[in-house]
């Protein structure tokens, strides 16, 4: 109770704000730090000193799921949420004109990040919609002559689901397998391309294991075989340098909330030279060159544009910092714990996404034990089910290791203290859970788990 008053005093010490009331609104999920004996199912952390009861939020280490808004982005968006609220498609008054000008400026900012022309950027509601437009739109447009698509087994659910729905329409889809490293074999791709292939879709950076696919080589192969190349670059845009002309990309999906922009907005890049024809999915008033009808949400696209501009300026600084922090996290964990496997190719890897498998520890119990840190095992869109991630299955991880994997995300705002805290807690809880594990005991005694015959009673 005393600590609460102390926090209020600290909060009041900052310059008084003429806001709605002095109470700090605590609408968020609270994390109670108990100081008495554990009463919950999860044994409480005994390492921390018995603190007075306080309400504290967990650290955020799940940037692949979503990212916080950069203050610069919010600052750019607010005028369009407060005063400049015009519809950008209103052609007859200043409200419409200023809104349209902002939309076009944002379009230029997005285009400049990926080396495209602004006319090639279409705003959508997110990368999922962009993926749907790219895959279904291209496939359906060329359906009379081309009936085949190629994608990989580690794509995002929206890509796989779009392909599945196209299969129901009569298309054929080849799902390329990946090597143990998570990267596709280019020879498999070349062999899979048929005369009636219309599209190849390969994601640039995987959201679960962080591997970077060889986009340059894939672009070269597709361009030489006259097949359109689509890449889901939601996790890659603004983090690694991408150029649609150097990499011969014909379609690209961009997501706003993965690059410190707002949720609910994204973009699709559709090449104009040579023109890629796409059948529109959403019918209406013909906005966005007829590709995506509907009022363009000016505040959101302004946010996306600002996020892209900030990302372009900060890419090198962020990459250097994130690489250092990622190295620090993995080194700390792997030095203190045996039997930890990093999933995904260590070389062709985006450093901010670290997927580790802790042998002999159950992933869900580790996540629950690490209640002070917001983490994930597998992607957010599949976390509701109990199945291990299909990406880990595709790279050939054993079932038991797949169940014990945790994804650590390091982003622009992650601090060294957060990384250290996460590493320490992780090491502590893995050790504790292993102590309790009979499998670990058996391994320590030298028994080979694979040789055990599990019998029923």
């Amino acid at each position: 109770m005393l600590l609460r008053t102390a926090w209020r005093r600290v909060a009041a010490a900052v310059p008084p704000v003429p806001g709605p009331g002095p109470e700090a609104p605590t609408r968020g999920l609270r994390l109670r730090v108990l100081d008495h004996a554990p009463q919950s199912a999860v044994p409480s952390d005994t390492a921390s000193a018995p603190e007075v009861e306080s309400v504290l939020r967990p650290l955020y280490m799940d940037v692949q799921a979503t990212t916080p808004l950069d203050p610069r982005v919010l600052d750019a968006m607010l005028p369009y949420l407060v005063n400049y609220y015009g519809n950008p498609h209103s052609r007859t008054h200043a409200y419409g004109w200023e809104s349209e000008a902002a939309m076009e400026r944002a379009r230029q900012q997005v285009a400049s990040l990926i080396g495209a022309d602004p006319r090639e950027i279409i705003f959508t509601s997110g990368a999922t919609e962009s993926n749907n437009i790219a895959i279904k739109g291209v496939a359906r447009f060329y359906r009379s002559r081309k009936k085949h698509l190629i994608t990989t087994q580690t794509e995002h659910k929206c890509v796989l689901d779009s392909c599945r729905s196209l299969e129901a329409e009569g298309f054929q889809v080849t799902y390329l397998p990946v090597k143990k490293s998570g990267i596709i074999d280019l020879k498999d791709l070349e062999a899979a391309i048929q005369p009636d292939t219309s599209l190849v879709s390969v994601m640039a950076v995987n959201n679960e294991i962080g591997v970077k696919q060889p986009i340059v080589e894939i672009g070269r192969i597709c361009s030489s075989r006259k097949v359109y190349f689509h890449t889901d670059a939601a996790q890659a845009v603004g983090k690694i340098p991408l150029d649609v002309n150097d990499m011969k990309i014909d379609l690209m999906s961009i997501s706003g909330h993965k690059i410190y922009g707002p949720k609910g907005v994204g973009a699709i890049y559709i090449r104009r030279r040579p023109r890629v024809r796409v059948e529109a999915l959403q019918s209406g008033g013909g906005q966005e060159r007829g590709m995506r009808s509907g009022t363009v949400p000016t505040p959101l696209v302004v946010g996306l544009g600002a996020a892209c501009e900030v990302a372009q300026q900060e890419m090198e600084y962020d990459h250097k910092r994130i690489s250092k922090l990622a190295e620090r996290l993995t080194q700390k964990i792997m030095k203190s714990l045996p039997d930890v496997v990093m999933n995904g190719d260590p070389e062709h890897h985006y450093p901010g996404c670290i997927n580790l498998s802790f042998a002999y520890v159950e992933g869900e119990s580790l996540l629950m034990a690490l209640k002070d840190v917001a983490l994930s095992s597998g992607s957010a869109c599949t976390s509701a089910s109990l199945e291990p991630s299909y990406v880990l299955r595709a790279i050939g991880t054993d079932e038991d290791l797949a169940h014990s994997s945790i994804r650590f995300g390091i982003g622009r705002f992650t601090t060294e203290e957060e990384v250290d805290y996460t590493a320490e807690k992780c090491i502590h809880h893995v050790k504790r859970l292993r102590e309790m594990s009979p499998l670990w005991e058996m391994v320590q005694d030298g028994i080979d788990l694979k040789s055990i015959k599990w019998t029923q009673h």
Partner: protein, 91 residues
């Protein structure tokens, strides 16, 4: 406006750091302080007065942005992070 002197740049630097310390959110606060320090350090050897003026103008705009965002952050402030209770809040 006269060309920016060393004193003006330092004043700007101090003002930005001072303002950034008031960010209510731990992650924004630490990022702002770190980025400001690194950005000023990175550009400390710039000699061209036109370039210096451009950078100073950008910094002034960013200072305005920081002020606004600090304000907003305080209006919608929420609980502290678990890590803030354990360290001496020096940043």
């Amino acid at each position: 406006m006269a060309a920016s002197s060393r004193a003006q740049v330092l004043d700007l630097y101090r003002a930005m750091l001072r303002e950034s310390k008031h960010f209510s959110a731990y992650n924004y606060r630490t990022y702002a302080i770190r980025r400001i320090r690194d950005a000023f350090r990175e550009n400390k050897n710039v000699k061209d007065p036109v370039e210096i003026q451009t950078l100073v103008n950008k910094a002034k705009r960013d200072l305005g942005m920081i002020r606004r965002q600090v304000h907003i952050g305080q209006m919608y402030a929420t609980d502290k992070l678990i890590i803030e209770s354990q360290e001496k809040p020096k940043t």
